[in-house]
């Protein structure tokens, strides 16, 4: 590879480089910091992420192109996802700061792993080759396996890490086998070359088998039914700050991979008619099971884990629509869900208090009396997740279901609306407990750290802004995916 091409590629991937360098700096910096100077790791992470965000914004609006010999794509989709992932990482730093202190986690390893995971997400969003995508998925997966088990003396955290590792690696093997089979069928792993080769050669049993394996692999990563068994246990056992990160980041990254592989690589009508029916069934099952099982949960954390499965189902509906409006609404939905989920888990983390134990519904009793502000914020997130206007949840579902209706998938849209109504049961249960039950007098007081307040402030603002003025972000999202559906 020539030096100018190398430089051009590196310049095109500046957001990724910024996150990588920040991660390395944080890792080394931690060695030299006294215990009282730990805020410096958080400050460095935030500065680095701000730089990466600025770099990502600078790339907006260019013509789609690939760098590093067709390995990485620089286009609207990649840029949008870069910005979203950096935002998720920054919010995670804010909400984790008090948690890391409270639970005695070494900040250096925590933030470095989180930044490396973010780097993996960004490379998934920017990959234009299946092999590149596999490496990126492994990068973020391995970082999140370790993050899930970071509370080394807590059996639940370790159990969660082990289950995540086993099922994650299991699914990666399927994804890799899918890549090998597609490679065997078409002789290339490049997504652009793939779509051209497929148009020339048509479908073959080998190619269909490859597609099926890719669906299984990515289905596990997104946690759609029937590949969801790991998610509730992993989300429940992981440290709450990490769970927040896992519901927002890896989920969005897996959708980025789905968009890249299926909307871009296998997007031509002759192939989409093979995978769209499968995706439709997965979406319907996911929405139904996620919402029904969430109703009977006893722990708010586990309930939110099932809720996260259900929300993946809604976003899947937009994938089934397979049109420009659908792809745009996926991006919108992922941003909206990131705000709602990160916000709700921040409240969970605060209510859980020391040792991360209080996650039962009863621990929320009387929160409206003892801490009215926190209860109001939690209610907002619950209503947003249930899809009430004027919140981001409502606008997101509106866009998704109208995209599905546009492509003629009325049944899916109806299932989506009905299950959303059903979801009010378990979200409202939290709100009712907070306002209509007596508080537990023995429970320790809740203290709010300034960084938690900042994280709550940003997520509340995001949920309301996206709900009241959805047009701006939706327009950006639609422009980012316009190149996938020309004409």
């Amino acid at each position: 590879m020539e030096v100018p091409a190398l430089l051009e590629g590196t310049a095109a991937l500046l957001p990724h480089v910024a996150v990588l360098v920040t991660g390395l700096v944080v890792l080394v910096l931690d060695l030299f910091l006294p215990p009282r100077g730990r805020w410096a790791t958080e400050a460095t992470s935030l500065v680095g992420l701000a730089l990466a965000f600025a770099c990502a914004l600078c790339q907006a609006g260019g013509e789609p192109r690939t760098v590093f010999m067709g390995m990485a794509a620089v286009d609207g989709l990649g840029t949008f996802f870069n910005a979203v992932f950096v935002l998720i990482a920054a919010l995670t730093v804010l909400l984790s700061a008090p948690y890391v202190r409270r639970e005695n986690i070494r900040p250096g390893e925590y933030y470095a792993l989180m930044l490396f995971a973010t780097l993996g997400f960004m490379f998934v969003g920017s990959s234009s080759d299946l092999v590149m995508m596999f490496l990126a998925i492994e990068t973020f997966s391995m970082a999140t396996y370790i993050l899930a088990g970071l509370l080394r003396d807590t059996p639940r955290s370790l159990e969660s890490a082990f289950k995540y590792f086993m099922l994650g690696s299991f699914s990666s093997a399927f994804f890799l086998y899918g890549i090998a089979t597609v490679y065997g069928a078409l002789g290339t792993t490049n997504l652009v070359a793939l779509s051209q080769a497929m148009s020339a050669e048509g479908t073959s049993p080998l190619l269909l088998m490859g597609m099926g394996l890719l669906i299984v692999g990515l289905g596990f990563k997104v946690a759609v039914v029937p590949f969801h068994m790991w998610a509730p246990d992993v989300y429940e056992g992981a440290p709450t700050a990490v769970t927040a990160f896992m519901t927002a980041g890896p989920k969005a990254a897996a959708f980025a991979a789905l968009l890249r592989v299926f909307a871009q690589g296998f997007g031509a009508p002759a192939f989409s008619e093979e995978w769209v029916p499968i995706f439709a069934v997965l979406a319907a099952l996911t929405m139904l099971l996620g919402n029904i099982v969430a109703i009977v949960q006893q722990s708010v954390k586990r309930m939110l884990a099932y809720s996260s499965i259900a929300h993946a189902g809604y976003a899947f509906v937009a994938l089934v629509a397979h049109n420009a409006a659908g792809a745009g609404s996926i991006l919108y939905y992922l941003v909206a869900y990131a705000f709602m989920s990160l916000g709700a888990f921040t409240v969970l983390m605060i209510v859980a208090r020391r040792d991360d134990q209080r996650h039962a519904f009863d621990d929320y009793a009387g929160l409206g009396v003892t801490n009215p502000a926190l209860a109001a914020i939690m209610s907002l997130f619950m209503f947003a997740l249930a899809g009430f206007p004027p919140t981001a949840g409502f606008a997101g579902k509106f866009y998704v279901f109208s995209a599905a209706a546009q492509s003629g998938y009325y049944v899916l849209a109806v299932i989506g609306v009905l299950t959303s109504v059903m979801s009010v049961v378990y979200y409202a249960r939290v709100v009712i407990l907070m306002y209509m039950h007596e508080p537990d007098a023995d429970a320790p007081r809740i203290r709010l750290a300034p960084t938690s307040m900042a994280a709550l402030g940003v997520t509340v603002f995001g949920v309301l802004y996206l709900g009241i003025f959805p047009g701006g972000v939706m327009h950006l999202a639609a422009r980012s995916v316009a190149f996938l559906f020309p004409g």
Binding site: L135, R156, M166
Partner: protein, 100 residues
């Protein structure tokens, strides 16, 4: 010379063996070994396809996969070791804290 499809069949058999191993074995170490078997089965497919297509790309991918498999083994063993120190067991039937 042995025809390429033979290698593909062997690779599929190995992959399925690995998958079954992960699903039915209760010893976490054996599960880890089964995972490695799955990844290496895929490597065999890559090499076979690369030979069939006369394309060096497939061979290069195998090197990347070996590195990924090594990293995965490191993370997996580290998690397993911490669990063993904590619970003195590697039987996954004992990892059931979250099944109420």
């Amino acid at each position: 010379m042995i025809p390429v499809p033979y290698y593909l069949v062997i690779s599929a058999v190995l992959f399925i063996t690995g998958a079954i191993g992960v699903l039915i074995r209760r010893n976490a170490l054996i599960m880890l070994m089964s995972l490695e078997l799955m990844l290496n089965a895929v490597n065999l497919s890559f090499v076979a396809y690369a030979r069939m297509l006369n394309d060096t790309g497939g061979h290069v991918i195998v090197f990347l996969n070996i590195a990924v498999a090594a990293a995965e083994a490191v993370v997996g063993l580290a998690i397993l070791l911490t669990i063993f120190r904590n619970r003195e067991t590697v039987n996954i039937d004992h990892l059931n804290l979250m099944r109420h």
